[in-house]
Amino acid sequence: MLNIDSIKNGIVIDHIKAGLGIHIFKYLGLDRADYNVALIKNAESNKLGRKDIIKIENIIELNYDVLGLIDSNITINIIEDEVITKKIKLNLPEEVVNIIKCKNPRCVTSIEPNIKHIFYLVDKQKGEYRCLYCDEAYSNMEV
């Protein structure tokens, strides 16, 4: 297994479902980052079999809200001086704007120019969202 040294200060986004790491990487804009970041794909995991991990050096502040939407099993560890000082539990946002696009071809979002795609949380347990306009369901397991 590829070994990436543990980081001194920064963030480790762990237990990402294998294959989703690249999406999160891009979503957080890490592909354009000018600081030290690593994406580890297909690491071995007791819990998931295979998982992805993202390590970010020296940056602590990030908007994690949307990560819960992509995969609620993700854990986020804040590292300071090589120890985990904080584990962040992901909360599903009540409303997400312009993150999920409505796939229903009969939805008004398919014709109205510059419309905000808005989804609201209907079931926390299942991570289920619905389109504000047409009620098309979206589950965060679907990404």
Partner: protein, 310 residues
């Protein structure tokens, strides 16, 4: 308070808000003349992005009978919409002229979008296969006026229960009242969707049965709500031939029903109710259309917040 509100989804209003609308509708039915000037000086805009003459007439008749006026378009080709104006721009402009707007649109969620940018109440008059809340209000007022209550009823729904949005809305709406029982009559392939069974019926502990043939159960029903099944919805030709007559209401079946059962249908019908049934006292679908106008009169008055006492 219903003044200034929108009606987008049949469940937007609480049962007590609905009661307000129905009791006003009953007053209008009792003495329509009293309300002939209730909306004098008010303007209703009907924004119909697809033709639906029946629904548009119902709204326009309602407003005109209240002494109000109507502007609008009945198909998008004739308006600035044809030039590609967005829904947001259209409703913002209309908000400057009219006091209340009714929107019909082939795309789901269009009236919801309009309501978010509107300074006047928006009523959804049908958005694709999504919602048609004033049909539900019509159905409920019909039940209230003809059965006197919303509870302790055995409600039979017959036909295409899978794709029929009016059926889903009616089940949801009547599930909010006590001790109703549903008899769901359809081919196996066209039963109500899972979410209705789980999230509405099972969740609220509501009694229901699912059967294939209307003739077997018609004797139990207080209400029979008929809908059309399109031939192509049947699973296969064999099924169609085996069952097609079970979903056509004729006098043979009506004769097995209770004397005070009411037959409802959202109209227009094709062949699912035989014309001979029209003469039976249980046939209520034309009355239902009339209740549809009355409930729209009450709805318009409530959303505009105009005084009841003329």
């Amino acid at each position: 308070m219903l003044k200034g509100r929108h009606l987008i989804d049949p469940m937007d209003f609480t049962t007590s808000e609905l009661d307000e609308i129905f009791s006003l509708a009953e007053k209008i039915i009792e003495d329509e003349g009293r309300f002939k000037d209730a909306c004098r000086g008010k303007l209703l805009a009907t924004l119909f992005y697809e033709p639906s003459t029946r629904t548009r007439f119902s709204f326009e008749a309602a407003m005109l009978r209240l002494g109000g006026s109507v502007i609008g378009f009945s198909e998008p080709n004739s308006s600035s919409v044809a030039k590609g104006e967005s829904i947001r721009d259209t409703i913002r402009t209309i908000s400057c002229y009219a006091d209340i707007a009714v929107m019909r649109h082939p795309k789901e969620g269009a009236p919801k979008l309009a309501s978010m940018y509107s300074s006047i109440p928006v009523i959804n008059a049908g958005d694709g296969g999504h919602q048609h809340p004033t049909q539900t209000l019509t159905d409920l007022l019909t039940i209230k006026c003809l059965k006197g209550q919303f509870s302790n009823l055995t409600i039979g729904l017959c036909g295409d229960l899978k794709f029929g949005r009016t059926v889903h809305s009616l089940i949801k709406a009547t599930s909010r009242y006590e001790n109703n029982r549903f008899v769901l009559i359809s081919p196996k392939e066209l039963r109500v969707p899972d979410y209705i069974r789980k999230e509405v019926l099972d969740k609220n502990n509501i009694q229901y049965v699912e059967v294939e043939r209307l003739e077997d159960v018609i004797g139990e029903l207080d209400i029979l709500y008929m809908t059309r099944i399109q031939r192509e919805r049947f699973f296969n030709e064999e099924e169609y031939l085996r069952l097609k007559d079970s979903y056509i209401l004729d006098m043979d079946k009506v004769n097995r029903a209770k004397e005070d059962m009411i037959i409802m249908h959202p109209l227009p019908r094709v062949n699912e109710i035989d014309y001979e049934v029209d003469e039976d006292k249980r046939a209520c679908y034309f009355k239902q259309a009339k209740y549809g106008m009355y409930v729209r009169m009450a709805l318009i008055m409530k959303l505009l917040g105009v005084e009841e006492n003329a």
